[in-house]
């Protein structure tokens, strides 16, 4: 499709690009003393909300799968739905940044922060939609560069810069390895375009080992984005060092984007077994590789989370484990697996962000990220009870206990795996055993909040506007976590849409 026509499919990204430029321009006009952080964040949220609206409209009005901009990007429901997911998390990211003390009170350059956040969202959208090696690389780097900056943006203490540097170095190596892998793929197939690569692989015999090496290198980059073992090592450090709101976002948005593109590459380029045409899988079957990665990722994540005493670090490891769960569905190599991943990320967004929001509120109140700060929270009056209940629901949902949405998400993933057949049953067993391990550390937080008789620290301070907003958001997230645990048909039909990108 030519460029002009493509623009109609590019409305949301286009709007966002223009909006970013406008915002940059506006920052020159607004004097620093005039603007409050609230204003900038609100502008950013507004921009993302409009983008989201446009994306939803596009999703509703333009079904089917189309290559746009001469095949650089692809417009399909998989991409659109993941973009919606990422935009929602982006909006919540800015909202959380506004609510968190560290990014709203001491921070004067909130305009740049907002612009970076919006750019990050743009990068994420391009990343998800890319249909070409170059586009993928550019989208990923836009996403990554802004991430490095945002990680180090708020100078809290020495940990912030350290996190940003580590993130940058690790990310640069990972993306370097990835692009090297892509260069090999290009050499093997002679094309940058995913469709062309696939067509070449279907038509021609290529060296299996070379293909594997290139896939392994590519997986390094993508694995870095989704923080899968053994590419996960950066994430706990970065989560701990980054502003909490950003850690929350990192664990959902970029990760979902990474999964979207991972599935696009693995399914679209390297084939889906279910498809009629002989898949390149004949040359290389990645199911087992991904399955092993999945098992290792969830196990390592859960085990390492066990001894953690910092809530952000704990949630970081938990997020690694959850990437492992989601990889399970990717390994299932089925259309249902794709929808399961989407479903999982939709509920993961709810429960994980709820947990982070509680962490933000607590950090605002008690200046601590350590678990001791949660001791006796459930007994600190109605506010404490509400926060602790919301946290407990979020954590139990993360652990996959009914009747919360996290359980349904896990059922989807397990279903995808078991559907695949006996070859992957072991993975399902590993996954459920991991669920049990994960309960140890989730329940420890709950234990701190409710079971401990000692009520540590002062009672929560009086309500403020931020607090009201936080509680409202928390209430919505928690409610949806519960609702989707009991009635998830809407989310189910949405997730089914992702499957049609294969046609």
């Amino acid at each position: 499709m030519n460029n002009l026509e493509s623009l109609t499919y590019f409305a949301s990204e286009g709007f966002l690009s223009v909006y970013i430029i406008l915002l940059l321009a506006a920052s020159l006009l607004i004097r620093k003393e005039q603007g409050t952080p609230g204003l900038y964040y609100s502008l950013g949220i507004f921009g993302l909300a409009v983008t989201l609206a446009l994306e939803i409209v596009a999703c509703a009005t333009r079904p089917g799968s189309t290559e746009i901009f001469h095949g650089l990007l692809r417009s399909d429901s998989l991409g659109r739905l993941f973009k919606i997911l990422c935009l929602v998390s982006g909006i919540l990211f800015l909202l959380f940044s506004l609510l968190a003390r560290e990014t709203s009170k001491r921070f004067r350059d909130s305009m740049e922060y907002t612009v970076l956040a919006l750019s990050l969202c743009l990068g994420m959208m391009l990343f998800i939609a890319s249909n070409n090696i170059l586009m993928l690389y550019l989208g990923m780097e836009l996403l990554s560069f802004t991430s490095y900056l945002l990680t180090g943006f708020v100078d809290r203490d020495e940990r912030t810069t350290e996190a940003a540097v580590k993130y940058l170095l690790y990310g640069a190596v990972a993306s370097g390895v990835m692009i090297y892998g892509f260069s090999l793929l290009y050499g093997l197939t002679g094309s940058l375009d995913f469709s062309a690569i696939r067509a070449y692989l279907v038509a021609n015999q290529v060296s299996g080992s070379m293909l594997f090496i290139s896939i392994a290198f590519i997986l390094t980059g993508l694995g870095f984005k989704i923080a899968a073992f053994p590419f996960h090592l950066w994430s706990p450090d970065v989560y701990e060092g980054a502003p909490t709101a950003f850690s929350a976002f990192l664990s959902v948005g970029p990760k979902a984007a990474g999964f979207a593109i991972l599935m696009r590459v693995l399914y679209q380029v390297f084939g889906v077994g279910a498809q009629a045409e002989a898949p390149p899988a004949a040359q290389f079957d990645w199911t087992f590789t991904i399955a092993v990665l999945s098992a290792l990722t969830m196990t390592v994540g859960n085990l390492a989370a066990l001894p953690q005493r910092n809530i952000k670090r704990l949630l970081a490891y938990s997020s690694i484990a959850h990437a492992g769960y989601a990889l399970m569905a990717v390994a299932s190599r089925s259309a249902f697996g794709i929808s399961a991943v989407f479903f999982y990320f939709a509920v993961y967004l709810l429960m994980n962000l709820a947990a982070f929001l509680v962490a933000i509120v607590i950090a605002n109140e008690y200046y601590t990220e350590r678990l001791d700060g949660y001791e006796g929270l459930g007994w600190k009056g109605p506010q404490g009870a509400f926060l602790a209940s919301a946290m407990a629901i979020a954590l139990f949902s993360l652990a996959g206990i009914p009747p919360f949405a996290g359980f349904i998400g896990k059922v989807y993933l397990l279903m995808a795996v078991i559907k695949k057949g006996p070859g992957l049953y072991w993975l399902a067993v590993v996954a459920v055993l991991n669920t049990v391990i994960s309960l140890f550390y989730y329940a420890r937080v709950v234990k701190m909040m409710f079971l401990s008789k000692r009520v540590k620290g002062a009672p929560l301070s009086a309500m403020t506007t931020e607090r009201y907003v936080s509680y409202a958001v928390l209430g919505v997230l928690t409610f949806l976590t519960l609702l989707f645990g009991l009635y998830w048909t809407p989310l189910d039909s949405l997730s089914k849409l992702t499957m049609n990108f294969l046609n």
Binding site: P402, P403, I418, P422, V436, K447, D492
Partner: protein, 499 residues
């Protein structure tokens, strides 16, 4: 109105407590008595409804695997795309459990009257727990069953963990983890069964009818069995139980022993038996051996305990062994005995835990050696305790005798040697029961407790219904046996025919 109640009776029984929980949340936290009364009302209504259920139950309808054999059915589509239904109904297997649950819950509320800390939260969680327990017994959709099964975990975790004794945190998490290990295995089986059935279904009756589609049958069976065995709890999965019981507050111990343990055996009967009858049949010896170990091992461990509550906890392990043994006998006598034992043990152990709670409330400890001569001080309390312990040791004329005798009778047919070994359990049981009674109630009065008050009206109200049941069902077990006879008959026939 009556029409409505009749059509939705199971839903009402299941969810009225939850509604009660919501109401409790609305009451201001300092109006403690209002909260307690509300909770009591919302547990009494299900009891009333359960009575109606009992009256309206057709004892002759026996189909276990057919939908026609199940009564008071309610079926609504829940998640259409997955063919998950809100499918509830009762048959002869579940109705005794529903009655038991409906009976014990109000008594527990009575027994919790003296809880002062977090009254609101406690009663909310308790009512939530009741919904979960009822749900397990009425659910006929595997998915629904699992949801209810897990929903119980959370309130239980908090009830033990917040209102429990000194080591409550350890006990609560141990309970949680143990149960979760079992249930995740069950989850895998559920998903597998769903995926291999055509059309995909979670309907237990449907799955039972077409159980031949299930592959890997032995593995499936073990997956389910371990999940349930942890709940029962069967040796060697039982170590969560003494901890949980000792730490839990009285009413929660009652629920735990009185109802929760039954879910394990209920699950085995409902699911292992009907879905995998052939494997069940081939596992007869394994089940019988485990049951026998439970009986003897539990009784011996009980004998060594110094804590009254721990003793009762181990006695539960021993008594649940009878259920297992009876189930493994594959005779009508054994199977009916097993289910009757589930009911009877529920009644007796509830009494025992309530009684332990009574003395703990007064003396603030439970050391068996720390009492003595209480029979002179508190004769009424002694009388009821003697009754309960004698029921526990299977004295003829009291309810447990019938079930234990039926179980042993059944076991003698199929597992003669094991049955003989298991029967020696009655000696050990008598020994530890009598020693306990002697140490606590008999002998010279311990002057420390010379002025211990006797049972209060509220305590009598919570104990009397159980005491009456203990005697009446011992003399006239017909009503309960009649409820389950035909259902269990067809279930047994199904299993026996499987091999």
């Amino acid at each position: 109105m009556t029409e409505f109640i009749h059509n939705h009776i199971l839903t009402l029984i299941t969810f009225l407590p939850l509604l009660g929980g919501a109401v409790v949340l609305l009451i201001p936290r300092d109006r403690k008595d209002a909260i307690r009364r509300t909770a009591l009302v919302f547990t009494l209504i299900p009891l009333l409804l359960a009575g109606m259920l009992f009256a309206g139950f057709n004892t002759s309808s026996s189909g276990f695997t057919t939908e026609a054999g199940i009564q008071f059915v309610e079926k609504h589509a829940w998640i259409r795309d997955f063919n998950i239904n809100y499918f509830v109904g009762v048959d002869g297997l579940s109705i005794p459990m529903i009655l038991l649950c409906a009976l014990i819950c109000p008594l527990c509320i009575l027994a919790s009257w003296n809880i002062e800390k977090g009254v609101k939260g406690y009663h909310f969680l308790f009512l939530l727990l009741e919904t979960g327990m009822m749900g397990v017994f009425v659910a006929l959709d595997f998915f629904l069953f699992f949801i209810f099964w897990e929903v119980m975990l959370l309130p239980m975790y908090f009830l033990i963990g917040i209102w429990g004794g000194p080591r409550k945190e350890y006990a609560a998490i141990k309970f949680f983890i143990y149960t979760l290990v079992g249930s995740v295995l069950m989850l895998l089986v559920i998903i597998y069964a769903y995926l291999v059935s055509t059309p995909h279904t979670f309907d237990l009756t449907e799955l039972a009818r077409n159980s031949s589609v299930l592959g890997y049958r032995a593995i499936l069976w073990w997956g389910l069995f371990i999940g349930f065995a942890i709940k029962v709890p069967l040796f060697p999965f039982h170590t969560w139980l003494p901890d949980a019981h000792v730490e839990a507050p009285t009413a929660i111990s009652v629920v735990l022993a009185g109802i929760l343990l039954k879910m394990g055996t209920y699950g085995i009967l409902r699911i292992n038996f009907s879905l995998l009858p052939d494997v069940t049949r081939s596992m007869a010896t394994v089940m019988a051996v485990i049951g026998t170990i439970n009986i003897i091992y539990g009784a011996l461990c009980a004998m060594a305990q110094k804590d009254l509550k721990k003793l009762v906890a181990y006695s539960s392990i021993s008594h649940m062994g009878y259920v297992m043994l009876g189930m493994a006998s594959f005779t009508d006598e054994g199977l009916n005995g097993a289910v009757l034992q589930m009911f009877n043990h529920g009644v007796v152990t509830a009494m025992l835990f309530l009684l332990v709670g009574v003395v703990y409330d007064r003396a603030h400890h439970r050391e068996i050696e720390g009492f003595g001569g209480l029979a002179s001080v508190t004769p009424n309390y002694a009388f009821v305790t003697f009754l309960a312990f004698f029921a526990a040791l299977g004295l003829p004329g009291l309810n447990s005798f019938i079930s234990e005798a039926l179980v042993l009778l059944g076991a003698f047919k199929t597992h003669t040697v094991l049955a003989v070994i298991a029967a020696t359990g009655v000696i050990i049981t008598a020994a530890y029961c009598l020693w306990t009674l002697q140490r606590v109630f008999l002998g010279a009065v311990n002057q420390k407790y010379a002025l211990l008050p006797d049972l209060t009206g509220r305590e009598i109200a919570s104990l009397a219904p159980l005491a009456v049941l203990v005697v009446v069902l011992g003399v006239f077990p017909h009503p309960v046996l009649n409820l389950m006879k035909s259902t269990l008959g067809s279930l047994n026939a199904l299993v026996v025919a499987a091999l």
